[in-house]
């Protein structure tokens, strides 16, 4: 088990650095790339947990589509690449305080609640178990999400139309 913890530790450290980079970098494109690091680290953690399907889906959808979308957005809004001024507004310290406060609360709660519960991975979860569950037990949310995607698609097209 120690190997898993070590791997976890490395990946977690990468994710932390990536997250901090997202919120602190002056370059927007670098922020997008740091986000890629975070999301990739997330996918790695999924694999560590034995959830392979969602790991790959995350890589495909999140990193593949969403980040690209972000990059397009950056391009289309002519976001400043080399800004002279900072990308933060003047709420830095209150924001930091609130975020830390929130982190503290959450952390405290989690520690208090879950003490030293363990995660035992017997075997990686089979994909067909996931898909079976989706199409039987969770069919309604699946359909709703489908409609949602349709709505989002149409919405985005309508919104972004030049007229």
């Amino acid at each position: 088990m120690v190997a898993e913890n070590v791997v976890f530790g490395i990946i977690a450290a990468a994710m932390v650095i990536g997250a901090l980079g997202v919120v602190r970098t002056k370059n927007i494109v670098h922020a997008a790339l740091y986000l890629v690091v975070v999301l990739a680290g997330g996918a790695a953690q999924f694999i560590l947990l034995g959830q392979e399907f969602v790991a790959w889906v995350q890589v495909l959808v999140y990193i593949g589509a969403v980040i690209v979308l972000f990059l397009f957005g950056i391009m289309l809004t002519r976001a400043p690449m080399h800004p002279k001024e900072s990308l933060d507004n003047d709420l830095r310290w209150p924001g930091a305080a609130v975020a830390l406060f929130l982190a503290g609360i959450l952390g405290g709660l989690l520690v208090k609640t879950f003490h030293a519960d363990k995660v035992d991975i017997i075997a990686p979860t089979r994909t067909d178990a996931v898909t079976n569950a989706i199409f039987t037990k969770y069919i309604i949310p699946f359909e709703v999400v489908g409609v949602l995607l349709l709505g989002a698609l149409i919405g985005a097209v309508v919104l972004a139309r030049k007229d």
Binding site: L35, L48, Q58, A103, V119, I134, A152
Partner: protein, 99 residues
Amino acid sequence: MLLNQFLLLGAFLFSTGVYGVLVRKHTVLVLMSIELMLAAVNINLVAFGAANHTVAGQVFALFVLTIAAAEVGIGLAIVLLIYRNLRTADLDDLELLKD
């Protein structure tokens, strides 16, 4: 592996995302921070699913993923619209609600 380590990681990512939402000026960066938060939620969900030996965690993580993608699409469309109308995507310039 402790459950808590995943959960705490998720909490940290979430808080960082909150910080980013509150502090970043550019709308796209705010959207990125929101993605950060959603990623943290995903980690939590999957960790719980794994700890309890149920696929529900994964399934829900999939749904969150999907919704996040839809949301980013819409969000960027809005950002584009704002950019077209106001020539800027800075949130500080969007103060029409101020009296």
